[in-house]
């Protein structure tokens, strides 16, 4: 794998920024505690009122704290370990590092554009910037043709493509189902709360859904770029599955309990998606040999 000297400082920087913002998010205290805020649309929502996320709704602050825990205990270690393997020239390491960078790009964009302005704002923007450029550089370190020569004939192209379609389009359908009603009636969506707009709904629909579908199409057509993007999206989906579990636990601790239907339908489907993604990630790496198959 080609070594890029820019990554030697960008990747440790991203890990450091994530370690700081996630620790502060998870452990910071202080503030007057929860209070009620009346939104522009006249809805009363509970604001968290403590720690870093004091100006976020209790609902969203709990999501962010769940994500912070997974960042600290899984995602940052994954980034650092895969980076060490990348430095040794391992292809598997490079693929995992690229996927972890894609995750931090997603995480950085979410915190930068949707967390209520707080003392970590510039660190969020720096993390978004560093992971955007690092992801672009990491993707260009691969020669997609060389990678595609290492794929064995056993790779279940069709199965992986179907999974990517279901994950991408399923996410879109889920988010649309929450938006169509309010868009037609002119009311605020249920979880808009104090926020300007629905960031995750917009970002997933605009970026993640097309990326997953395009990767699926490329895999079916056996295009080399498909092998480049597929592992990143699969690992991203696996991490999101784990993040959703942590977010749900964090919300339960904050006193947000959902009806049983939501646990099975919404949260369950993310976790099932994550489990399938873990399975396909394992299958993908089993079908990659470190040496070229074809001459």
């Amino acid at each position: 794998m080609k070594q890029r000297s820019t990554l030697y400082w960008l990747v440790p920087l991203i890990a450091l920024l994530a370690a700081i913002t996630s620790s502060v998010g998870l452990f910071s205290q202080g503030g007057d505690g929860p209070f009620i805020f009346t939104t522009l649309h006249g809805d009363a929502v509970e604001i968290y009122g403590q720690g870093l996320y004091r100006n976020d709704s209790t609902f969203v602050a709990a999501l962010f704290r769940g994500t912070d825990a997974i960042n600290l205990f899984i995602c940052i270690p994954l980034l650092l370990v895969s980076y060490l393997y990348y430095r040794r020239g391992s292809m598997t390491g490079t693929i995992f590092m690229t996927a972890a960078l894609t995750y931090f790009l997603y995480n950085g964009a979410t915190l930068t554009f949707s967390a209520a302005f707080n003392s970590m704002f510039l660190l969020y923007a720096a993390s978004l910037s560093a992971s955007l450029f690092a992801t672009l550089i990491a993707f260009t370190t691969f020669d997609a043709d060389i990678l595609s020569n290492k794929v064995t004939s056993g790779l279940p192209h069709r199965g992986m493509a179907i999974f990517l379609y279901v994950a991408g389009l399923g996410t879109l359908m889920l988010w649309l189902s929450e938006l169509i009603g309010p868009l037609l009636t002119g009311q605020a969506p249920a979880n808009l709360g104090p926020y300007t707009t629905m960031f995750t709904h917009g970002f997933d629909s605009a970026v993640i859904t097309p990326a997953a579908v395009i990767t699926g199409v490329y895999l079916l057509k056996r295009k080399p770029l498909g092998y480049l993007f597929a592992p990143s999206i699969l690992i991203l989906c696996s991490l999101i599955g784990v993040v959703v579990i942590a977010q749900t636990i964090s919300q339960a601790i904050a006193g947000i309990i959902f009806p049983i239907g939501v646990y099975i339908g919404m949260i369950g489907s993310w976790v099932v998606m994550g489990a399938f993604a873990v399975g396909f990630t394992i299958v993908f790496f089993r079908n990659i040999s470190e040496t070229a198959i074809k001459p």
């Binding site: 805020f37 522009l40 649309h41 604001i47 100006n55 930068t112 554009f113 949707s114 967390a115 209520a116 302005f117 707080n118 003392s119 970590m120 704002f121 510039l122 969020y124 923007a125 720096a126 978004l128 910037s129 955007l132 450029f133 649309l176 938006l179 309010p182 868009l183 002119g186 605020a188 969506p189 808009l192 104090p194 926020y195 300007t196 707009t197 629905m198 960031f199 709904h201 917009g202 970002f203 629909s205 605009a206 970026v207 097309p210 395009i214």
Partner: protein, 286 residues
């Protein structure tokens, strides 16, 4: 240079959607009066109260309106010109198309994440998505060596590199001055108003500033990517600059207090960016 048909197709879908979104912002004014609203951070701001931007403040609605006008009279025509010229396979056409897609990417990224949720939300998201993938594909299909070979001797390489460095420094200083004090004191930043966070400042500091600096460095080193990137970034500044001037005029018409020093610097940066953008296009031989 061979035109990329997917880019042209994506750009062709952007045209009617942008006409719809920007047209609605301008022509759907509705009825209703501005009203005061107490924000989450305890400040009282005036909401527009009518039309598409009824849930935005008077200040941000006037900026969105200024942006819409520029999208209609400059952004869309440039995009159409880019589509037509790149179908003929001209280099200028491809650069024009890529730069115009850059403008739509920034504009509808900001509209998706900073405009208060309104009935056009999904249209903004679709425009953001189309211009993101269109821009990536367009950049990927640029033949940078060919661009470098088509740059004539009159190309003001050093002036453009200097300009990018000045833009980067100005944006850094202006936006750090705005966001650092409130990060330390915990008070709401000036200009936050009813929004949840400072989207433009993050986009500029996180994406535009590094891109300007990278472009300046590549230009000074006479690397092929420097010429390609500078043509694209200048075209984006050409359109963003006019949008900024339009926004400032629109804010003044709406009676919003504006900071004269920052506004004058923005106008100067925009005018020199527009000039350099035109000079660049003239110095590319087809």
């Amino acid at each position: 240079m061979k035109p990329n048909h997917i880019v042209i197709r994506l750009a062709t879908i952007i045209v009617p959607l942008a006409l719809l979104a920007a047209g609605a912002g301008i022509f759907w004014q509705g009825t209703g009066e501005p009203y005061p609203f107490e924000t989450l951070r305890g400040e009282t701001v005036m909401m527009r109260g009518h039309g598409l931007y009824q849930y935005d403040t008077v200040n941000s609605a006037s900026q969105e309106l200024g942006q819409d006008i520029v999208t209609l009279i400059i952004g869309v025509p440039l995009l159409i010109a880019g589509i037509l010229l790149s179908r003929k396979g001209t280099l200028r056409g491809q650069l024009l198309l890529t730069g115009a897609l850059g403008y739509f990417l920034y504009t509808y990224g900001a509209m998706s994440f900073l405009t208060a949720f309104n009935p056009f939300f999904l249209v903004y998201v679709a425009l953001f998505s189309l211009s993101l993938f269109g821009f990536i594909l367009a950049m990927n299909s640029l033949n940078v060596d060919e661009i470098a070979a088509h740059i004539s001797d009159g190309f003001p390489r050093r002036s453009i590199a200097t300009y990018f460095i000045i833009v980067a420094l100005f944006l850094t200083l202006a936006w750090l001055g705005l966001v650092v004090p409130p990060m330390l004191t915990g008070l709401p930043p000036a200009g936050l108003e009813s929004a949840i966070t400072m989207v433009i400042q993050a986009l500029d500091l996180g994406v535009i500033v590094p891109t300007s600096l990278i472009t300046a460095t590549l230009l000074l080193k006479k690397q092929a990517w420097g010429y390609a990137l500078s043509a694209v970034v200048l075209l984006k500044i050409l359109t963003m600059g006019t949008a900024l001037i339009s926004m400032i005029i629109s804010q003044m018409l709406a009676g919003v207090d504006i900071d004269p020093v920052t506004s004058v610097i923005f106008v100067l940066i925009s005018i020199s960016g527009i000039t350099l953008g035109i000079v660049t296009l003239r110095n590319i031989r087809d």
